[in-house]
């Protein structure tokens, strides 16, 4: 799936870009079963892509490396 982001030869940190990332994350969370009040529908293409990612994640089962138990900062 094509990136939703502008091509970052100069990085774009605008609120519009952040909003697009957030919308994608909410769609992903919904594909993973979270109920949300979000009104806009996720496109069929994007939804299929999320399901594919979820499937690839599930195929690891269990995930190969443990999650860190320390703050990254």
């Amino acid at each position: 799936m094509a990136s939703i982001l502008a091509v970052p030869t100069q990085i774009d940190l605008s609120s519009g870009v952040i909003r697009n990332i957030v919308i994608e994350m909410v769609d992903m969370a919904q594909a993973l079963g979270l109920s949300s009040n979000k009104q806009t529908a996720c496109s069929t293409e994007r939804y299929a892509y999320f399901l594919e990612l979820i499937e690839r994640y599930n195929n690891f089962d269990p995930f190969p490396f443990p999650f860190p138990d320390q703050r990254w900062t």
């Binding site: 952040i18 860190p68 900062t73």
Partner: protein
């Protein structure tokens, strides 16, 4: 590529090229202590991210050392400011005398991060873009840090949480990976790959951090993150009303309340679900690497994305 030796090079650069100009022994001890704590941990991988990105894009890793040094110092400054804001980190050297010490330490660390960036080798235009990006990502993160602490439970939503996470963390990782790539390449496809890689890794790492911190500190501080949002969405679950009741009390939670909330969330599989979300973004980060040439740098980034952070 040996992560610990790369991390040592970055520490050497900070200590010899930057700190030696500053003449503040107390800070030297604080930074040495932090370097020692991170060198044999997965966090060393976080600090060298710009260098790994540079290597993955075919660049000269030596030239990326000042960039990785700056990135690691910005992370440190962010940690100090976060601790000041959350009233945490009492046991750390930088906080030994409280805010009076922590605040100037944070400002100093930001200052020397700028000094590190100023030591980037040409090409000059790329360096200007990098300086601009680091300044902007810092300003975006600062705004999000402020907003995190002004959120009431009523205002909490998955959109608000993700917006805060992207602004505070994911954009910083995207900038770190992108800037490492920028030292090596002007190819838009390569830079987009690095940006997407950093973004996805940053999302995953912050969600995992939030899962870890929820019981340790966030619930008591009134900071509600993804497991809470998931729990609140489970309106049909038998523990839902009890969860809402605990979160709705305006006073600080007791340890017993924290344990009860954690038990409800565990029963709801809220931590499991949140970590799944993080894991999917780890897979997404690996996917972003497909646009890069294969090699040891790309292999290291893949390990980093999957959490295989051996040192």
């Amino acid at each position: 590529m040996i992560v610990s030796s790369l991390y040592e090079n970055i520490c050497r650069f900070i200590n010899n090229e930057i700190l030696s100009l500053c003449d503040w022994p107390e800070i030297e001890a604080i930074i040495a202590n932090r370097q020692q704590a991170r060198i044999n941990s997965a966090n060393a991988w976080v600090d060298i991210l710009p260098s790994l990105a540079c290597a993955a894009c075919g660049g000269d890793v030596e030239k990326s050392i000042p960039l990785a040094a700056a990135w690691s110092l910005y992370i440190f400054a962010g940690r100090i400011v976060d601790d000041i804001h959350d009233d945490e980190g009492k046991g750390h050297l930088w906080n030994a005398a409280g805010t009076r010490q922590a605040l100037p330490t944070a400002l100093f660390v930001i200052g020397i991060a700028h000094m590190a960036l100023a030591r980037l080798q040409p090409p000059a235009q790329a360096n200007g873009d990098i300086l601009d990006a680091y300044g902007r990502v810092l300003s975006v993160a600062a705004q999000a840090q402020r907003e995190q602490h002004s959120l009431s439970l009523d205002a909490l939503s998955v959109e608000v949480y993700f917006n805060n996470l992207v602004s505070r963390t994911a954009m910083a990782f995207a900038t770190a990976a992108w800037s490492g790539g920028k030292l090596a390449s002007a190819n838009p496809e390569t830079l987009t790959a690095m940006y997407n890689f950093g973004l996805a890794v940053g999302i995953a790492i912050q969600i995992e951090d939030d899962c870890e911190d929820l019981v340790k500190s966030d619930l008591i501080a009134g900071i509600y993150t993804l497991p809470i949002i998931y729990g609140l969405s489970q309106t049909q679950h038998s523990g839902h009303s009890e969860l809402v009741a605990h979160l709705s009390v305006p006073a600080k939670m007791s340890t017993s309340q924290v344990n009860t909330v954690a038990a409800i969330l565990t029963e709801m599989k809220a931590f499991h679900w949140s970590r799944q979300m993080a894991g999917i973004y780890r897979v997404k980060a690996v996917e972003a690497l497909a646009a890069l040439p294969s090699g040891s740098g790309t292999a290291c980034l893949r390990d980093f994305a999957l959490g295989n952070c051996q040192v």
